[in-house]
Each structure stands twice: as structure tokens, then as C-alpha cells.
Amino acid sequence: MKFDILIAGVGGQGVVLASRLLATAAIDAGYHVATAETIGMAQREGSVTSHVRIGDEVCGSLIPAGNADLIIGLEPAEAARNIHFLSKDGSIVVNEHAVIPSASANNAEYIPEHVIEFLKENCQETINVDFTQLAKEAGTYRATNVAMLAAAAGADLLPFNPEELWSVLEKMVPEKYRELNRKAFDMSLERVSGMKDPEKQEQVQVQAMDT
């Protein structure tokens, strides 16, 4: 067994925590795990990534290009920046919510929708939701990372199921934030289960139009 996950985002979005959660879940499931995380200078509002490699054998922590089974993009451009790591039959879970870089970087206008389109063109199994909005609805935008992990587990894109993932979260998230994270977790699960089941998805859309 070999399962490589790349988590990408912007400093402060909780990439490191997300990778710790996955790594812990992997150990609990009896695998070896190796992670590589961005720490230090680059974290200050820069692009951050974490490589999480789960498998039967000990290996280096950096995923070779074209080997990732899953990319979790907490930010659309950051997912796209790392797409060369994705394997031919890999999947993407991407947050539609963009973090616009400070204007001083002299970037051309950043249109997140175009980036999402690019991801979908290149990866059949791309799940895109505004997870930041979803987390806000659950109580805080800071739970975005948790919502995204739940989505990946709920859509069967991880080598462990949502309950296994939650039992790790329960241990790692401080008690006062637990309920809030559970809420984000459940809302996200619900959302992806709707996406997997076309009928349900329609209902979700109809409801959305009602409100």
C-alpha cells in the first residue's frame, strides 16, 4: 500500500495541523507515515505545502512529481501550483475560497474560477466547495482545514474512513473548539455525500435556491 497526499495552502490556513491529523490517523491505522512541512520564513503569508506519505514501507517525505493520489487545496491557486505532483488517476479536493495575495506582489488579476476550471479540466475527480463559507456557517472560518479533511474522507478519497479520522481529531483538537469542529466536520460530510449521490445533490440545490 502506498498513498501520497499533498496539502497546499497559504500560511495561517492550517496546513500543518491538517497534515498532522492525517499522519496520526495513518499511524492509528497501522501504516508507516512520513510528512514534510513548510515551517519558518515562507510561512509568513507565503505558499505552504505539506507532503503526507502513507504506506507499508519507510520512505522519504517528499512526494515525487506525478505520484500524489490526492491533493487537498485549501486555496485554489495553491492547489494548481502543485498539480504536477498529482498522478494520472489522482483526485483533488479544493476550496473555492481564494486568498488574494497582497497587491504589492504585482500580480495580474487573480480569477479563482478560472483556476478551479483548470483543475477540473485536468482531474476528473475534483471536489470543489467553498469550504471557508461552510466553516463560517459552522462557526469559524478557522475550521476550513477540518471541513476539507472531512470531505476527503467522506468522498472515500483517504485510506481511512470519516469515523477513524474523527477519532483522531477528537484527541487533537482542544476541548473548547471540539464542538465547533464537529459541526464543520458533519456539515462537510453531508455536503459531499450530496455530491456523490446525484438525486440528493439536486435537493441541495433546490434548497439553496429557496433561501
Binding site: 515551517i39 520564513m41 507565503g46 522519504g60 497587491a103 504589492s104
Partner: protein, 629 residues
């Protein structure tokens, strides 16, 4: 019975646990990415296991502290990053002659890439230079096990031992099997007076042959004790091609060649200095071509080349020196595949080339994406201070035509170089901002009064690390400089360690807080001001006054690091009042504000409510939207 458990640990945490298992008693260090978490982990377990742990003011002090404790027979550890080892190199070079009692392990983290460093130094070369053994683990598990080996070796040989890691080992997490630690047997012999502990030329002359001889003995030991946990290993392949690698490159090598296992012989070196010559000779005996895979310097490559030359062996070597592998930057599996293939091609080997996986989109085909250069956090006090100096300098330029040179330093505030602030004209190493500003002030152009005023920036932790001596030298030598101390009450870049200005030790005990302004006064700085960094107008005024002052002056700006304090509020742009001048965006570079094609900028969730943008907005269009609890 030894109880073991398996858990997820960062390489740095694994080293801390390994050291504690080995009977660590005294630990000292200075924070530096990627080494920091070793000391943090020890400090947080120190009282439980009866260990003394501290953050020293710099690496030289840290090493000397550990040396003192080791002379008394204690098991000691010092931690630092590769550039920190430069600071500690003075005691280190002498120490290798004298050796230690107890044990002394020097944890040094290298940073190929580099991700967070001024240089891509290779500590293996430093081991060679200083005649100190270097162990080079490839995984967090090995880091744990080799930490224990390092203590054993140090104790047995009475020498310091360097445990060297690289970013992917220090900051990678993995499942690590650790053993229970018993807080027992903390007794030490105590310091015994002996001429051996006082270095004099005579002693040096006596010890040098011992030191050289020791290198050979250790090299033999690293060669001979193959099975006894030196972590060196050789696997035989069925071609005449061999690969030698060390550290995390060994793992990349395994993965790069795993579709062709059995082809190459592989010598994985974990004890890199002194080079295990006998083992290497044995390895070379049945190969004709050797590919050397290592990050940073061609250290192993040089060792092999020497050995091959000395023994007139008929082995071709492929590595950095003949262009098959990159001489800088971090390696990964793809880099290794490229290098091996390039070597195979050049040796015309009858071995198939290694293959890369095919990504869905090749890196070259990713459309252009917004770049995110690192910058101060939203609401960071440093932004306000740099902007204030920028404004003050512009005013002075208008008034008297004199320019200002801004000397930066190492820490979060190095990011003052980011656009649009662009406030770092020089940056070299810890503390250098002050000394370089002083040097600049003594140039003739400046003395004739027609060039520029000199301003140096330094952070609170860096001030204690190497700012004080530099400031004393500047005052003593009549340098006309202005020092801005950016005191955000923490060592922010490395993860918020306490320092002498805080009043708290590494182990969380209260202690005397050293007042930076008082230190500056007693260093002879005549004008010393302390102000809060939240009022921009006052910051500009004070900055201007300090620059205009003839002679050394200093301002201590007190503020907070948003990395450890809560956001106080969030601001919002009033679309009615905003004229779309974009001043808030173009002047400050706060990552919470971005400009819209519609003309009205927007403030994102990460606003912490510092109010700087509201203070610079010429149309009074930025208001507090919400006060956060």
C-alpha cells in the same frame, strides 16, 4: 524490560526523546529554523525528567554553557542551526583538542534549499574542519536512535559529537518507536580540577597528535562495527555500479531505484565523519563505477575520490564535481533520477535508465498563478515601524537633502525588504545591521556630511544574541547611527521562544527581564526612547528625531506579534468614502487588504485590527467594523 511505544514525532522531537533516553542532564541552545523544536521539546519535559534546559543568548554561549556542565561529568546537548554553528565555532575549534567528560552532543540542523536560512552550509564539512565526528540520520527514527549513539560515542571517546540533520529530517514527521524514559541516576561526578581543562599552546601541541590519531580510530570503528548500530549499511547489487549516499538522500535513492532493485550496490552512510575508510574500500572492491548522491557539498564524493586516488583503484566517480548532480538546492526523488540517468548515460552502462512518474500536468504547463512572496503578517508591528522610518526619512530628505541607508538584520523583520516597504538595504547575519551601519557611517563620503544617515533595525531576541556587542563598538567608535529595536516581546520567526527581555525561562520559570532601553543607555547611547508602535504619527516623529540626533541614538518600539496575541478587531473600507486612491494597498503591503478591479479595495478575514491602514487612509474611509474579544 524496556517499554516501547510508537507515535508520530517530528524529527526534532525524536532527537529530544533520544537525548532524554540517553540520560540528558543539561541542554542549552539558541532557536534557529530548522533546529528549534529539539530544545522546545526538551524544555517542556525537563522538570519531569530532572533535566536543566535553557535558551542561551547565542550559540557560542550555549555551547560554552554545555561545555562547562560536561566538564563536571554531565550528559549535555546544545542545539542550533548551521549558521549558528558559525557563531559557536570559536569554542568548538578549541574544544575538539580538549575533549569533554560526561558527554556533549551538538545538534546542528542544515537547511538545503535553503528554506529559512542565509546560507546552504554543510555541517559535515565543519566536522571535517574541526575534527569532530558527524552522524547523519535519514529519518526521524534514525534521528532518535542516533541521538542515543551520539551520547554513547561522546562519553566513550571523551569528545563532542555532532548530530547533523537536514530540514526533511528535522521538520518531517514520521512514526517513531521510542522507549520509556526513567528519570533516574542524575548524579554527576562534579568538576575536578585538572590542567587538562585549560587550553594553552603547550597543551594544544600535546593534544593535536591525539586528536589526529583519534580520527583514525573512529574511522575504523565506523568501518568495523557495521552490525553494531553505526547505521551504515551496504546492499550488494548485480551490476558493477555502486551508489553511495547519506542522510535523506539515501531514501530518495531507494525510491528512485526501487523499480530496479538488485541492479545497484548501495552504500548508505550514516557516520559521515570520520569517513569509514575501510568499509568504503571494501565497498569499492567490486564496483567499477560509483554514483555519489548527497545534498549540499560534495563531501562524500571528495572522500571517495581521495580514497580511490590513494589506492589507485580503477573506479569512475559520478557526482557533483563532474556535473551529474546539482551543487546546490534541495534534492528529491526526481533530482536523484535525473542525476543517476545522467551518470548511466555517461558511463554507457548496460542498465536501463530510471523512469519518472507522469504527472497529470507537467510543471511547465501550469498556467501563471499569483505569487505570494513572504511578508509581515497582517497587523504586525514591524510594518508600522518600517513605514514610520520610511516617512521620516522622506521628510528629512526633503528638508536637508540627506538620504538614509537602512541596515536590516535576521528575523521576521528581514521581511522589511518586501515591497512596497522595501526597507532593507543591507542584511548579512545576526547583529550585523548595527555593525554594518557603523561601518557605513565611517566612510569618508558620510563624514563629509553629504551622503546619508545610517539606520539599523534589530529585533529583541537578535539584540541579545549579538546586538549588544555591536552597539558598544559603535558607540565607542563614535559611529553616528540610529538603532530601531523592534521589540515584539518574542522570538517570532522561529516559533515564539522567550528571551532575556521577557522575564521567563525556557522551562517557564519567572526570571529577571533585561530592559533593552536600559542596556542601550548603559552602552553609552545618549538618546534612547521607548514608545508603543501603534501610533503611526508618533512613530514617525520619534524616528525623525532619532535620525536627526547627532551621535548614536536608539528607539525601542514596543508592540505585539500577532502570531501569539489575539486579533483585537477588524477594519472595513467604507465604499462611500473611499476614492479608490489605493493608498492603503500601495503603501503598506498588508496581506489583509487587496485591490479590486472595481477600484474599492477589500479587507479579508485575516485583518487583526492594527488600524495602520486607517491611519494612512487620506479619505478617512477605513473604519473599525468589529471589536473582537
Amino acid at each position: 524490560m524496556i517499554l516501547t511505544s510508537k507515535r508520530i514525532l517530528m524529527g526534532n522531537e525524536a532527537i529530544a526523546f533520544g537525548a532524554m533516553k540517553a540520560g540528558l542532564q543539561v541542554a542549552s541552545g539558541y532557536p534557529g529554523t530548522p533546529s528549534t523544536e529539539v530544545m522546545e521539546t526538551i524544555a517542556s519535559h525537563a522538570s519531569k525528567y530532572g533535566i536543566y534546559a535553557e535558551w542561551a543568548t547565542n550559540e557560542k554561549v550555549a555551547l560554552e554553557t554545555a561545555v562547562g556542565a560536561a566538564y563536571s561529568g554531565a550528559n549535555t546537548l546544545v542545539t542550533m542551526k548551521q549558521v549558528g554553528l558559525n557563531v559557536a565555532s570559536d569554542p568548538l575549534m578549541s574544544l575538539s583538542y580538549i575533549g569533554v567528560k560526561g558527554s556533549l552532543v551538538i545538534l546542528v540542523s542544515d537547511d538545503p534549499g535553503p528554506h529559512s536560512s542565509q546560507t546552504e552550509q554543510d555541517t559535515r564539512a565543519f566536522g571535517h574542519f574541526s575534527n569532530i565526528p558527524v552522524l547523519d540520520p535519514s529519518t526521524p527514527q534514525e534521528a532518535y536512535d542516533m541521538a542515543k549513539l551520539a551520547f554513547r560515542l561522546s562519553h566513550e571517546m571523551e569528545i563532542p559529537v555532532i548530530l547533523r540533520t537536514t530540514t526533511r529530517v528535522s521538520h518531517g514527521c514520521a512514526d517513531v518507536v521510542t522507549e520509556d524514559i526513567e528519570p533516574a541516576g542524575r548524579d554527576i561526578e562534579g568538576y575536578v580540577k585538572e590542567p587538562r581543562w585549560t587550553i594553552f599552546p603547550k597543551l594544544t601541541a600535546q593534544r593535536h597528535p591525539w586528536l589526529e590519531d583519534l580520527q583514525i580510530r573512529i574511522s575504523d570503528r565506523f568501518s568495523d562495527h557495521f552490525s553494531e548500530n553505526t547505521f551504515n549499511s551496504i546492499s550488494k547489487g548485480n551490476s558493477k555500479i555502486g551508489i553511495a549516499s547519506s542522510g535523506v538522500s539515501s531514501l530518495y535513492t531507494n525510491e528512485a531505484t526501487n523499480k530496479q532493485t538488485g541492479t545497484f550496490s548501495h552504500f548508505k552512510l550514516a557516520t559521515v565523519h570520520p569517513f569509514p575508510e575501510k568499509a568504503a574500500l571494501e565497498f569499492l572492491s567490486d564496483i567499477t563505477d560509483l554514483i555519489v548522491i548527497e545534498e549540499l557539498d560534495p563531501y562524500l564524493e571528495e572522500q571517495f575520490l581521495q580514497l580511490i586516488g590513494r589506492h589507485h583503484l580503477d573506479v569512475n566517480v559520478y557526482g557533483k564535481k563532474n556535473g551529474h548532480f546539482p551543487v546546490s538546492g534541495e534534492y528529491d526523488v526526481d533530482v536523484v533520477i535525473e542525476g543517476v540517468n545522467s551518470s548511466l548515460q555517461s558511463m554507457n552502462a548496460e542498465v536501463p535508465l530510471l523512469t519518472h512518474s507522469t504527472p497529470v500536468v507537467a510543471r511547465e504547463n501550469i498556467p501563471s498563478l499569483p505569487v505570494r512572496p513572504p511578508t509581515f503578517c497582517a497587523g504586525c508591528m514591524h510594518r508600522t515601524v518600517f513605514y514610520a522610518f520610511k516617512k521620516a526619512a522622506a521628510k528629512l530628505k526633503k528638508e536637508n537633502g540627506k538620504g538614509t541607508v537602512f541596515s536590516g538584520d535576521i528575523g521576521c523583520y528581514t521581511l522589511g525588504n518586501a515591497q512596497p516597504l522595501n526597507m532593507v538595504d543591507t542584511c548579512l547575519c545576526m547583529g550585523a545591521g548595527i555593525s554594518m551601519a557603523a561601518g557605513l557611517s565611517h566612510t569618508q563620503q558620510y563624514q563629509e556630511g553629504n551622503y546619508a544617515k545610517q539606520v539599523a533595525f534589530i529585533g529583541d531576541s537578535t539584540f541579545f544574541h549579538s546586538g549588544i556587542a555591536a552597539m558598544i563598538s559603535a558607540v565607542y567608535n563614535n559611529a553616528d547611527i540610529t538603532l530601531a529595536v523592534l521589540d515584539n516581546r518574542t522570538t517570532a520567526m522561529t516559533g515564539h521562544q522567550p528571551h532575556p527581555g521577557i522575564g521567563l525561562t525556557a522551562m517557564g520559570n519567572p526570571t529577571k527581564a533585561i530592559d533593552i532601553a536600559e542596556v542601550l543607555r548603559s552602552c553609552g547611547v545618549d538618546l534612547v526612547e521607548t514608545i508603543e508602535a501603534d501610533d503611526l504619527g508618533k512613530c514617525i516623529e520619534t524616528a525623525k528625531m532619532a535620525i536627526e540626533y547627532e551621535g548614536p541614538s536608539a528607539v525601542v518600539f514596543k508592540g505585539k506579534c500577532v502570531g501569539i496575541t489575539k486579533a483585537t478587531g477588524q477594519y472595513v473600507i467604507d465604499e462611500e468614502k473611499c476614492t479608490g486612491c489605493n493608498f492603503c494597498v500601495s503603501q503598506l503591503g498588508c496581506p489583509a487588504i487587496f485591490s479590486m478591479s472595481s477600484g474599492i479595495p477589500q479587507i479579508q478575514d485575516n485583518c487583526t485590527g492594527c488600524s495602520l491602514c486607517a491611519q494612512v487612509c487620506p479619505s478617512d474611509a477605513i473604519d473599525l467594523r468589529e471589536v473582537l474579544q
